[in-house]
Symmetry: C2
Subunit: 367 residues, 2 copies
Amino acid sequence: MTSSPFPLAPFPLEPGATIGILGGGQLGRMLAMAAARLGFDIVVLTPEADAPASRVAAHTLLAPYDDPVALAELAQRCAVVTFEFENVPAEVVAALHGLGVPTAPGDLALATAQDRVIEKTFFRDQGIATVDFVAIDSADDIRDGLDRLGAPALLKTRREGYDGKGQAWVATPDEARAAFDRLDRVPMILEARAPFVRELSVIAVRARDGTVAAYPLAENTHKGGVLHISVAPAEVDARTQDRAKAIARTTLARLDYVGVAGIELFQLANGDLLVNEFAPRVHNSGHWTLDACEVDQFEQHIRAIAGWPLGPTEPFAHARMENLLGGQVEDWAALAAEPGARLWLYGKREAMPGRKMGHVTRLSRLG
Amino acid sequence: MTSSPFPLAPFPLEPGATIGILGGGQLGRMLAMAAARLGFDIVVLTPEADAPASRVAAHTLLAPYDDPVALAELAQRCAVVTFEFENVPAEVVAALHGLGVPTAPGDLALATAQDRVIEKTFFRDQGIATVDFVAIDSADDIRDGLDRLGAPALLKTRREGYDGKGQAWVATPDEARAAFDRLDRVPMILEARAPFVRELSVIAVRARDGTVAAYPLAENTHKGGVLHISVAPAEVDARTQDRAKAIARTTLARLDYVGVAGIELFQLANGDLLVNEFAPRVHNSGHWTLDACEVDQFEQHIRAIAGWPLGPTEPFAHARMENLLGGQVEDWAALAAEPGARLWLYGKREAMPGRKMGHVTRLSRLG
């Protein structure tokens, strides 16, 4: 594993230091608010004017992510730079390092998360189960893959793609060929259908000193490939909880990770866990921590990247988080009037179908 | 009582609307973060560059409060304007009204809170006890006042002054004369010493539809005239809690108030309550609600002024809030490492003695 080019010297960051965020969406917005709580200033770099995160940040650099002038200013202003999405071009991270500013998480974590074949191979190398998969470089590979994995299987681009974009279920060589063409014949991965009984996720955080902490598991349900509901703490036995935390601990340690990460898991009928996906950032299925924990995932991430000690991860309430997708945000008035509904709205101007516009969390007593 | 020149028409404000805040300090900062949570944008008007609230606001107008160009822009951008301090010049509020933008709280509340004689007279007129007082316009008035109220008594300017500034204890006519000179012979009030056994406060909120809600009382201790510690819910009997809520309800209703207000109370040995001061804004002794309630005082204020329904005011934990004054903020590293310490830092650049730099809240189980 690589060791960081940035020694511990500037850490812990003192209050008043400036933290950079690449990306201006809702994750950046909630990170910026958490940073402000602890006395930090935020600079957001985003190509999007009037971005949700910009409106709560001390300063915004409005430029493409690879704009050299913007990156130079970001490096000059910030003590550390973080990301609200995983598809940061490697050359952007390299440029920031060249300019002398540390990033968190680091390039190994980003490189691992950016390519689905590398990601799954990494987990296997750690002895952590994933769904079966085959790397796909040609239509013939898909035919062979379907033979090996069984049909139907899930064809995904190796890079990019989120919330169900860039993927298709294929059952026959003809379907596979059509999907391969439709996805522009880029390098892909074919994943076996996992016979899972439910979807879980673990939100974990690793501090600069190597300490790892994890929140209790969430149980997630999706709608059209997009997270719909997270319930936490999930009703799982101690073995499942321990196994998920062990997966998180191994993953973050091996990647020399700093910050919060989300790991999506499939649970099989026999209780075993498979890793579905690794997100090197704060995660939608951790939004419940905003209202049910003393220290939420956003503050944990800021604490970790700033070199501060981690906060507690025990919830004081049971939570049910529901995403408000597209037009669902129009329910804001009814939700505002519901005494038990804790509402978060992201300040997005247009409620396009399936777009994450906000979320609502309902708390109840811990069982 | 005056009726608002602004009918209910624009309310409730839709998410995405812009709210103006006069003042750029920590109260404005925490109001801005609460507004962002609900999807609102904030414009701050402040004469202070790099103000704490500016760094979490969508936009800042850097100008004196009475700058006509800045006020015109504020009115043009905002659906409603609020204040983080009570000494807003009446002509500023009048100018905003003239420009067609509603303010909350309204001018009656501000006028009442801005002059200590008017304030105390208002409470007496509602049958709400205050300390005895005499209006002071000359040094002779002080001599007569000391005769009537007994010595020592507290001489304060009628207007301005906060955190113990602009006031002095006087025991003799000579001391009174010297203090009167030192305070520039402006109109003053002389207040009798209240034989109180403890200081309490009630944070209450009134919605646009007239609904009033209050948090449980806090018990406060001061240090050098500045709030030091608030403990909530205070250990008071039901009669005291009910009486304080009744005082809040009467006060906010009579002032046709919209938003959060803090009322400081003295409790006498026999249990009776006297009103010490009325603050027409979010209040330092309500910061504990940030970590111990589902909806804190800042979100309540934004809900109220936006014409939204109020949120719940029941705490889920017992809280002990301590202000970090001046150099105390240097304890940040120890506080960050204390698992039970919830830290809020305000982003102020200079830790001048007595300056409110942040606060820390420690939670425990409700008794």
